[in-house]
């Protein structure tokens, strides 16, 4: 039996891990429950990525071509992990769906990603009630499909509000953590919007703007200075509707006053939650979760990919909110951790 590793999840982290594991000499099986590869990047058709405005489809092409052309990588889409048993450090993994078989693996990389918070869970945003209230992911899909129009009437929006931290940093919905990338993604989206809507008023309602590191200039300052986007530190009370337009009610915490402003379009920067797949796989592979339900890192600083179960590794947003660049880096980190782990056990 050759030395084989299973990667579960085919988003950026999983695809990177698969390719790197193959470079390191392993036979790799990638199991993905969806019919497509690329995770959230593919699901929402991200056209332009932050922070560098590079092409989403090109990134996917790069990641997918490498695994497709690699004879040491098998790709099982439309396939789920049904059952796992372990004996003498070898995992027997029973799959269902398109590839119903049992596979022996020496190690496993969980790259099961995230789901977006569903804003319908918090009534105050009016999501699912008012058609002109959409999520950031839906805005990405609009960018992919054509010009930006109001869902309610097909008109060009003259005013757009972004609400930050939807489902993040919010005890009431149960998510106390920050989703890390939504500030930067929203800033990127506001710059893209400006190209299509040269005259629209674009306003960002935030708690803290977390365009950390070098994102500060390329996203936050650029959105303000080149795209004329206005940032308002504010608390959102609720979204209502008047005369067919959503109305944002809240308090501007800098000028200390309540506001009640109508917008043609409201974009909710919905945060990240552990995906159902992350929960399921954590249970099947017996790895612990941290307090928010992400996979717990055994050594946060030493190595991002170690779980508390030897032979089971994690990469990408399965262990917490990540940017795509972080997820790809962790695909490498996890592959090397597998390499070190198996070098001690198996003659490669």
């Amino acid at each position: 039996m050759s030395t084989s590793v299973m990667v579960i999840g085919a988003g950026p982290a999983g695809l990177q891990a698969a390719s790197t594991l193959s470079h390191l000499g392993f036979d790799v099986t990638v199991v993905e429950q969806q019919q497509y590869l690329g995770g959230a990047v593919a699901r929402h058709q991200y056209q332009v990525l932050m922070p560098d405005f590079s092409s989403g489809p090109e990134l996917l092409r790069h990641l997918i071509e490498r695994v497709n052309e690699d004879p040491h990588i098998k790709i099982y889409t439309g396939t789920s992990v049904e059952d796992v048993s372990e004996s003498r450090d070898i995992f027997s993994i029973t799959l269902s769906g398109a590839h119903a078989e049992t596979i022996q693996s020496h190690a496993v990389v969980l790259a099961t990603g995230f789901d977006h918070f569903n804003p319908a869970r918090d009534g105050k945003y009016g999501y699912g009630i008012f058609p002109d209230v959409i999520t950031g992911a839906e805005l990405e899909e609009m960018f992919a499909k054509g010009p930006i129009r109001r869902p309610s009437n097909g008109e060009v929006p003259q005013s757009v509000a972004f609400i930050y931290c939807v489902g993040s940093r919010d005890r009431q919905v149960g998510n106390t953590y920050c989703s890390r990338v939504c500030c930067a993604v929203s800033a990127k989206q506001s710059i893209e919007l400006r190209e299509q809507l040269p005259k629209a008023r674009i306003s960002m309602f935030y708690m803290d703007v977390r365009t950390y590191g070098l994102w500060e200039d390329s996203l936050y300052w650029r959105s303000q200075e080149e795209a004329g986007v206005v940032y308002v530190k504010g608390r959102i009370a609720e979204v209502t509707e008047q005369h067919g337009r959503p109305v944002l009610k809240g308090e501007d915490t800098l000028v200390r006053g309540p506001f009640e402003w109508p917008f043609d379009l409201i974009v909710l920067a919905a945060g990240m939650e552990p995906s159902r797949g992350t929960h399921d796989m954590a249970k099947k592979f017996q790895v612990s979760l941290e307090s928010h339900g992400f996979i717990k890192q055994a050594h946060t600083i030493h190595n991002a990919s170690l779980t508390d179960h030897p032979g089971v590794f994690v990469a990408g947003a399965a262990s917490g909110p990540k940017a795509i660049e972080d997820s790809i880096a962790e695909g490498d980190v996890a592959s090397l951790a597998v390499f070190d782990y198996l070098k001690a056990k198996v003659t490669l």
Copy 2:
């Protein structure tokens, strides 16, 4: 000639890269201009690391033991790169200092790190003038050496202010970027301070609190709720002195009022700048810098370690502000990039 790689800089990124490159089969030479290994973690004797309050000395021991015990890694401390030439994809690197020799390398990893911004460059903070105004790095050294006392008179401080974004997000000093980790490091320090100073007033003066991702609970909320630290969104006008105590003048941007508060101790969260070594090595190895003087990443998202010079890779804060965990991850990413690069050129 065996396949050899030079790692320049022996902070967390460089030490991780050295160890991983050796695991991948290379002979590694680590060149470090200082006499010690461990970079900023060693220089400032970080005792407790964010986000998980793990031990700094233990992290260093882990990173350093691995390279010291590895027969494929040579460590050249007290050594600098004097001159570089390149012929047929082989770098001839002339060293000076403790190991004055010329080494042939097939690839190079620049892990030359950062320097802290020197707050004496901005007169408004009173740093270098008022003894009770110190930097976050100096606070780390105080934690390492003994109890926290006011430098001016040796008394226990009853009130401590942290000023965020010192030398970051500041056009006047020329650093428009965010230094990424200072918010979180300051929150960690405030929690540590509370243990020593149960009754002190501890106040954080911030622009935005950027404890992103899962740092939110473990640092930001914990500092407020467990350590009773107060966060004030404010702009700092200047630090003066009255009756032997530094006085912080500024404007609270939330309650819209000026303040003038004396503190026993003021901690400046000084940001990161490209180190002199980063500048020097970028020039010697002919890699481009981005607009702030960090080493420019050729593909931000695809691979964090690629520069625009084939065979020269980057890891850690040399390419921009990073947390230690990011720098260690990038040590792995750079090692794999070297592996892929050399696999195409050399029979390993």
